[in-house]
């Protein structure tokens, strides 16, 4: 199937993602900015009334709508829904993409939550944001202007957008985790460093990031990315080992 409109839209999306990757170096809230780009591209491509992304957060467990776009999207931002309810909850819990149409005729369809956004949709498509083996959130689209339902092709396209969003979230979180890990290591090893010195060292390391280059920092990022795939128990073991290594290193340094 050759669709120049689609190819152009995908190219635009990839360009936006790449541009955001650069902007991420400068923008403190990079994850948010990139996710915003993705929902805006989704609304434009699907000619939809609204698109939004909800991310899973703990304590209490909830799916929090972080970004939204489209004429009817704004009301969703900041809303939280429990993962045990509704279409978004189902897609998050099962990782299974889903589209419903004719939802307005169903009086019990999450109406309370929909009304809080100021907009009750006629149709909804939702796909999971999957980061490796973990679902981290849900991308949803409400009401295509050109059709009362979503086609299989729509669902597949939406999955492309979702995979971009998941990659963005992963990149942002890995970078955040890497900075935290570097800080933790420096705090442990740098007995004679002030918090300000540690801050400036971490900041300098993060500023010098160049994805094309094999710097020690990127190696560290890779290690952290690998650590994220371990189970809780395995992570605890790694932390224990790191502590032992760190204490030996500190002892060695003092001896010199």
């Amino acid at each position: 199937m050759n669709d120049p409109g689609l190819t152009a839209a995908l190219q635009a999306l990839r360009l936006a993602v790449r541009r955001s990757a650069v902007a991420r170096r400068l923008d403190a809230d990079a994850e948010q900015a990139l996710l915003q780009t993705i929902v805006e591209a989704t609304v434009a491509l699907f000619e939809a009334e609204a698109s939004s992304i909800a991310l899973f957060e703990r304590d209490p467990d909830r799916l929090e709508f972080r970004v939204a776009a489209g004429a009817q999207g704004a009301g969703a931002i900041g809303l939280s829904v429990p993962p045990s309810r509704g279409i978004v909850g189902f897609v998050y819990s099962t990782g299974q993409p889903l589209a419903l149409s004719d939802v307005i005729s169903d009086p019990r369809f999450d109406r309370a939550a929909a009304e809080r956004t100021g907009y009750v949709p006629r149709s909804i498509a939702a796909v999971p944001l999957v980061d490796r083996d973990q679902t981290v959130g849900v991308l949803q689209v409400l009401d295509k202007r050109t059709s009362p339902t979503f086609s299989l092709r729509d669902m597949e396209l939406l999955a492309v957008f979702a995979s971009q969003a998941a990659a963005a979230i992963r990149a942002a979180r890995v970078q955040r985790d890497s900075e935290q890990l570097l800080r933790a290591v420096l705090e442990r090893l740098g007995d004679d460093m002030s918090p300000e010195q540690i801050d400036s060292l971490v900041g300098a390391a993060a500023m010098e990031l160049d994805a094309e280059e094999e710097t020690p920092f990127w190696q560290l990022v890779d290690r952290v990315a690998a650590l994220r795939e371990l189970s809780d128990r395995e992570q605890l073991l790694v932390v224990d080992i790191l502590e032992v290594v760190a204490s030996h290193a500190a002892r060695g340094r003092r001896a010199v």
Partner: protein, 277 residues
Amino acid sequence: MPDLGLPAWSEPFAEDARSQLVRAAGLRQLDREWAWGGSTGAGVKVAIIDSGVEGSHPVVGGRLVESVTVQITDDEAEVIPDEPIDMYGHATACAGIVVGLAPDVEIYSVRVLGADLKGKGAAFLTGLEWAVEQGVHAMNLSLSSKSERLFPYFHEVVDQAYFKNVALVSAVNNVPGLSFPSTFSSVFSVAAHAIPDPEIFFYNPSPPVEFGAWGVDVPIGWKDGSTTVATGNSFAAPHVCGLVARILGKHPGLTPFELKAVLAAIANDPGELPGSG
């Protein structure tokens, strides 16, 4: 469709791709009359591993015989009795599609989704194991796991099911990366086509996805007695599950291997669809 680097599992069943779905001519000696003529799925036990079937929903036709859920405490997972309610509507939708095709089946609801089930993968695995032990004949699995850690355990239970002659019908997930059990070879893996007919299904000789059934704009039963219209591979799988129940109603004891061969033999010929000349 440009190459999006994603598994577009429904592509083989799209109108312009269906001519590739060719099969061995000898299989055509079986027909649907032989396979399920006169069968209503009576005597066939079907487990719906999902969000809990709403027993009183009209689409379920009073066929729900038992409801259980999985309780997870610390490291222990235990199967306990459950109310016949649906947390989302999804299990009821699947059960309704199965009953629609095989009105006399017995439905066993195994709820592995919901507010109190945080270890979702573990609950799914435990529910699946329970249903195999109960001796159900077929199962609908419109959900999947991506947990690398649970992969070998799922593999073991799916093998147990195969050796006990339980047909596991599973929706494939259009999400990149590891996703099972639909990708295990003994499972009946199903993606969606868009022809609005519950009895039209295709066999795909190029795995991993073996069957294509109706999954676009399907009228379904949903939560609290309601109905709606839905799209997803989730709703294609129960169509195949319902047809499997019909076949088993007429030919009890067929193995999953034999069932797949029967389905391949009686699948719609893409060139002979009603209205396609």
